[in-house]
Amino acid sequence: MNTMTLYVEKDSPVHRLDPLVKLLYVFASIALTYILPEPLFIAGVLFVTLLLLVIGKVFRNSLPILTLSMFLIFSLVIVQGFFHPDNVTELFSIGPLVFYEEGLYVALVLVLRVLVMIGSFSVLILTTSPDEMVERLIKKGMSPRIGHVILSVLQLIPQMRATTSKITDAQRSRGMETEGSMLTRIKAFFPLMGPVVLNSLNETKERSIALEMRGFGSSTKKTFLNEEKQYPYNKLLAGIIIAIVILGIVWRVMV
């Protein structure tokens, strides 16, 4: 069964961490890159993030996500290096275009920040099952309706994709051209949309009836099938993360 999730099921200390602590780490690590925008410091945060990916046995799984960001990273280096308004010190030139040291510095901070963002989100997404995450958030007060939307989207979009494929096959079997030039594909796209959209609308209505009949609209306090997972050192870890952020703010103000 296909689901739209990047979660990698493994047994590691990072997998066993509370999803909320990991979420806190995402926000804290990103916040720190703004509180202390020094390349060396951000590199330190990035190092911790990459270490978490390694400990979580998902470093290799994070590489495709990091690779996808390469286009953005190159763009940042080129734009800042050549065109940053504070550019003064020339590093090298390509024809009439001059690459500057100040721009490179700014680009370095931005690139490291982007890598921290992608890395810390990877820690969260690759080591946390969506069910665990949503259940934890609902227990902390998030609306069960929002939780249901998040979880159902992960499973239902692949189902919709399968339906689309079936409808395409049905149309193809009746002689419709669905492959070939761009024009042929565009022509095939519009007749496909009608049945896909109508089918989805119908299923959405039916599914909402089914949910109603399963007491989804009940105002009774919801209970959970799965026992609340115990996360060791939960408060300690959260405390350390918050303390580091506070220290960062104090450092920024004092120095």
């Binding site: 299923e203 599914r207 399963r214 007491g215 989804f216 209970t223 099938l225």
Partner: protein, 279 residues
């Protein structure tokens, strides 16, 4: 004792001008299996929605009359309160899966979590109904990986686990292959034997004839008749309402095999055999 009472029920969908349910009045006894038959657009599914409280709470529109289930007037209670009294299973098994649960076990738990049951009671009910529906062996599978028949049995288990007093089955086999249909009807047979109150909407008249104690014949939203399967399927004007009697009834009519001193024809093969043997 009546578990469902319908009094002068009228209903019109918001975007339509004609009544879809037009002055229906009947009652269903505890432990009874009521079959509902009629052509498409007769109002069968709409009646199911009205019994389950989806009308007027989910579908708005013009509503008149009164529906009482287990003493609850559905108009005056939220669906969440009604679902503990009446459960609804409909034709498409796929769209009855919540889409938010990764295993069959968790799928059945969904409704119980919403009812706020404690964990011990949830496990008890889930295991009981998965076993009753013969899908316990699939408990760790993803619901979307099941066949249509298996999925429909999980849908029924999910509704039954909420332990309603009445189960409505609205064409539960219309999208299933013969094997899937057989699996679902085996469950219906089991439930009727256990004395569960069932409302069954079905186009397969053989199944209605086999399981229903009484049959409600609808036509264009109006109640034509409410009687035993023999009386309904022996009506000479039945085809005029878009309903074809079971094949065995047609054969009996052709062979003039009927109950002694009556105008009624058998509606099941077993009854046909008994009458033939008695000749």
């Amino acid at each position: 004792m009546s578990i469902i009472e319908v009094e002068n029920l009228k209903y019109r969908y918001p975007d339509l001008t004609d009544l879809v349910l037009d002055d229906l009045s009947f009652s269903v006894e505890k432990g009874e299996c009521l079959g509902i038959v009629g052509e498409n657009t007769a109002g069968k599914s709409t009646l199911c929605y009205a019994l389950a409280g989806l009308i007027p709470h989910f579908y708005k529109g013009a509503y008149g009359g009164k529906v009482t289930v287990n003493g609850l007037v559905v108009r005056e209670h939220e669906i969440a309160e009604i679902v503990e009294n009446i459960g609804l299973v409909f034709e498409n098994p796929f769209s009855q899966m919540t889409g938010a649960k990764k295993t069959v076990y968790e799928e059945v738990a969904f409704g119980l979590e919403n009812l706020g049951l404690d964990r011990k009671e949830m496990h008890r009910r889930i295991e009981q109904y998965l076993k009753l529906l013969d899908v316990f062996g699939l408990k760790d599978k993803n619901p979307f990986d099941l066949s249509g028949g298996q999925m429909q049995r999980v849908a029924i288990a999910s509704v039954l686990a909420m332990e309603p007093d009445v189960l409505i089955l609205d064409e539960p086999t219309s999208q299933l292959d013969p094997q899937g249909s057989r699996e679902v009807f085996e469950v219906i047979e089991q439930l009727t034997e256990k004395g569960m109150t069932i409302i069954l909407v079905e186009h397969k008249m053989e199944q209605i004839a086999q399981y229903a104690d009484r049959v409600l014949l609808l036509h264009q939203g109006r109640q034509v008749a409410l009687d035993t399967p023999e009386k309904i399927f022996s009506r000479p004007d039945l085809k005029g309402f878009g309903v074809t009697p079971p094949v065995v009834t047609n054969i009996s009519k052709a062979l003039n095999v009927r109950y002694p001193d009556s105008e009624l024809f058998p509606v099941t093969i077993e009854a046909f055999k008994r009458l033939e043997e008695a000749k």
